[in-house]
């Protein structure tokens, strides 16, 4: 039973695999779109040329390889991480409205980053990432406290919104008071990939991937645990250890995202729901696998739309996602309220 990969034998492997493949295909298309479209649109042939043999002298190829490629990869990483973060949180607090943005985990991480900037001055990227992880971890524990016993209640988004608004008020205070910070963090503050570069990507990708890996490994145990305390104990699951690992997964994925792109909301809400809709029968582990490409393609599409719609300016990722995600949230709330009668 403790075989962590036994999920592969559950829930119709072949069907799940087919859906997974389909989703990754969509992600690949979105990835190609993200490389082609932007302030200037390039034909796919040029992208292919740049990827196959890169000519640094060619301005268009330089833009594609130097700016769009890292940004598209960062979007995929952010999307997949947030989707997994949201999914694990939803499972642990047993609330379909849990999302690192709505519950204030992202805001807590952002607060930690900005507080570090305030106290210590400009920080190297590594320290920023560390602070984001610390803040995300602390805020995730707080979410657990706020969620209380873990019923299906609607208090979590309220408590999260209250906590997040306090954090973000302090964040904007610091950012507005520091002239240097204002220029750098103005877009980061609302969630944007404009600051995501190659170095940040290389440093944070392993962190986020480890988080996703942990989520995959403990998915089955979390599922069993959530059936009820005694059931888990009878099956030889250590609740404390499983929950800690779950929180570690949330912290690593959400923290890495904030360090890379600021507090981005709603992917953690939408992607898991879409993943569950696509494959309602599958277990948590399969849903984690499905949520990754779902989140990645959502982030890619939202970021491309943000760059393409208002060019030459760009809409930050966080704002595009809020405009899609807030109605989705309202729809979910409506369904939940109707369902609780």
């Amino acid at each position: 039973m403790d075989n962590s990969f036994s999920f592969l034998h559950f829930g119709g492997l072949r069907l799940g695999g087919l859906r997974l493949g389909g989703l990754w295909l969509v992600t690949l298309l979105a990835f190609g779109g993200a490389l082609c479209l932007g302030a200037q649109d390039y034909p796919p042939a040029l992208i292919w040329q740049a990827l196959r043999d890169f000519d640094p002298g060619n301005a268009a190829q330089a833009i594609v390889m130097g700016m769009r490629l890292p940004r598209a990869l960062a979007a995929m990483l952010v999307g997949a991480s947030l989707a997994v973060s949201g999914l694990v949180m939803q499972a642990i607090v047993r609330n379909p409205l849990a999302d690192p943005g709505l519950t204030g985990v992202n805001a807590g991480a952002a607060l930690a980053v900005v507080a570090g900037l305030w106290v210590l001055g400009p920080l190297p990227q590594m320290a920023t990432a560390g602070l984001a992880l610390l803040g995300a971890g602390a805020a995730a524990m707080l979410v657990r406290l706020l969620a209380g016993g873990g019923d299906n209640s609607l208090r979590l988004p309220l408590a999260g919104a209250a906590f997040a608004s306090l954090c973000m008020a302090i964040v904007s205070l610091v950012v507005l008071l520091n002239p240097e910070a204002r220029n750098i963090y103005r877009f980061w503050m609302v969630g944007s990939l404009a600051l995501a570069d190659r170095n940040g990507l290389l440093m944070l990708a392993p962190v986020a991937l480890v988080g996703i890996g942990i989520a995959l490994l403990v998915a089955r145990q979390i599922e069993t645990l959530m059936l009820g305390g005694e059931m888990g104990a009878a099956l030889g699951i250590h609740p404390g250890r499983v929950l800690s690992l779950g929180f570690l997964a949330i912290t690593l994925t959400a923290g890495a995202t904030v360090a890379l792109a600021g507090p981005v909301g709603f992917i953690g809400l939408i992607a898991p729901h879409l993943a569950r809709r696509i494959a309602p029968q599958s277990g948590l582990a399969m849903t984690v696998l499905l949520a990754c490409p779902m989140g990645a393609s959502l982030a890619l599409l939202a970021d491309t739309a943000g760059r393409r719609l208002v060019r030459p300016a760009e809409l930050p990722l966080g704002i595009v996602l809020a405009m899609i995600g807030a109605p989705a949230f309202m729809l979910l709330v409506r369904r939940m309220l109707r369902g609780t009668e």
């Binding site: 706020l146 209380g148 016993g149 019923d151 209640s153 609607l154 208090r155 988004p157 309220l158 408590a159 919104a161 209250a162 906590f163 608004s165 306090l166 008020a169 302090i170 904007s172 205070l173 507005l176 008071l177 609302v190 909301g265 208002v310 300016a313 760009e314 809409l315 930050p316 966080g318 704002i319 809020a322 405009m323 995600g325 807030a326 109605p327 949230f329 309202m330 709330v333 409506r334 309220l337």
Partner: protein, 317 residues
């Protein structure tokens, strides 16, 4: 007794607000400026008096509308700044500003749209409007309207964008006599709500009991709600969405009025809150000129956390 103390506090803060600024005035200097002439008098009368009075009126509107919403929906979280009414009014105001239309009309249109959307989303086929649904749907509406406003700003020209950004933080910067004249239009709208204390008190007993006491419950609710929405949106058009003023004024007023929903007290509390926040904004870091709304958010967010905490403990099984 407590109400008198609140009124005194408001007066004290107002006097401090007139004295404070880049150059502080002593009490005697302030008196001279108010009743005499000279450079100080020009500064006080041209800048500080209209700013203070506009803030007081806007704060009164926020406080009143917060109390009325909280009372009608029997939920301390159901204030216009939590359920997205302020944010929608701000969106409407920005749209009007960019289109060259009167800002107040835009704010009213936005606020009205928010009320209709929330009523539609939270209406239950049998139980009428559900307060819990209003609060949660409002949370989504606030995020949506905020994001739409940010998107609009990014599309605006740089000059417009800078102005709108500060205004969106909630600010009284640049407020003068023309703005005060606009604010005075809100006073007649405040009057019915200031006198509605008894009605609110009875409505809180529950619809059946209120009906038995001879109130026309449905019409009363609709009328009070519409007025409160107009006031909140009107205040937004004056000084931007000052975060959490409406939210915090209600509970403070209740505390001062021994648990009763006293509109006069709520208006006082809102006025005192904005005056205090503007005082802080002008006293600390005057060079950076932080938006006043940032201070109301910093003071008000803990109130929100407390309200959520108390409510969830009460709701907990």
């Amino acid at each position: 007794m407590r109400i008198a103390a609140l009124a005194l506090l408001t007066l004290f803060l107002a006097a401090l607000g007139l004295a404070a600024g880049r150059n502080w005035l002593t009490l005697s200097e302030l008196a001279q400026a108010l009743f005499g002439s000279g450079a100080d008098a020009r500064m006080v009368w041209n800048l500080r008096v209209p700013r203070l009075l506009t803030g007081v009126i806007a704060g009164g509107c926020f406080g009143l509308s917060g109390l009325v919403f909280q009372s009608l929906l029997r939920n301390p979280l159901a204030s216009p700044d939590v359920v997205g009414l302020s944010q929608s009014a701000a969106l409407g105001a920005v749209l009007a500003l960019l289109a060259g239309l009167p800002v107040t009309l835009g704010a009213w249109a936005g606020g009205g749209a928010a009320v209709l959307i929330l009523a539609w989303l939270a209406a239950h086929p049998r139980h009428g409007i559900e307060p819990r649904a209003v609060v949660l749907q409002g949370l989504g509406l606030a995020i949506l309207a905020g994001a739409a406003t940010e998107a609009l700003i990014l599309r605006a020209s740089d000059g417009d964008a800078g102005m709108v950004m500060t205004w969106l933080g909630g600010t009284l910067n640049g407020v003068g006599w023309p703005e005060l004249a606009r604010a005075l239009w809100l006073l007649p709208l405040m009057l019915p709500l200031l006198l509605a204390g008894r009605a609110l008190d009875r409505l809180e007993l529950g619809d059946d009991l209120a009906h038995a006491l001879g109130l026309r419950v449905g019409a009363l609710r609709a009328g009070l709600g519409a007025l409160a929405a107009l006031l909140a949106a009107g205040a937004v058009s004056l000084c931007g969405p000052m975060a959490f003023v409406a939210l915090a004024a209600g509970p403070v007023a209740r505390l001062a009025a021994y648990g009763r929903p006293s509109p006069v007290t709520a208006a006082l509390a809102g006025a005192a809150f904005i005056t205090l926040a503007d005082l802080l904004a002008r006293s600390f870091a005057p060079a950076a000129l932080l938006p006043t709304g940032l201070y109301t958010a910093l003071i008000g967010a803990p109130v929100l956390i407390l309200a959520v905490w108390r409510q969830t403990r009460r709701d907990a099984p």
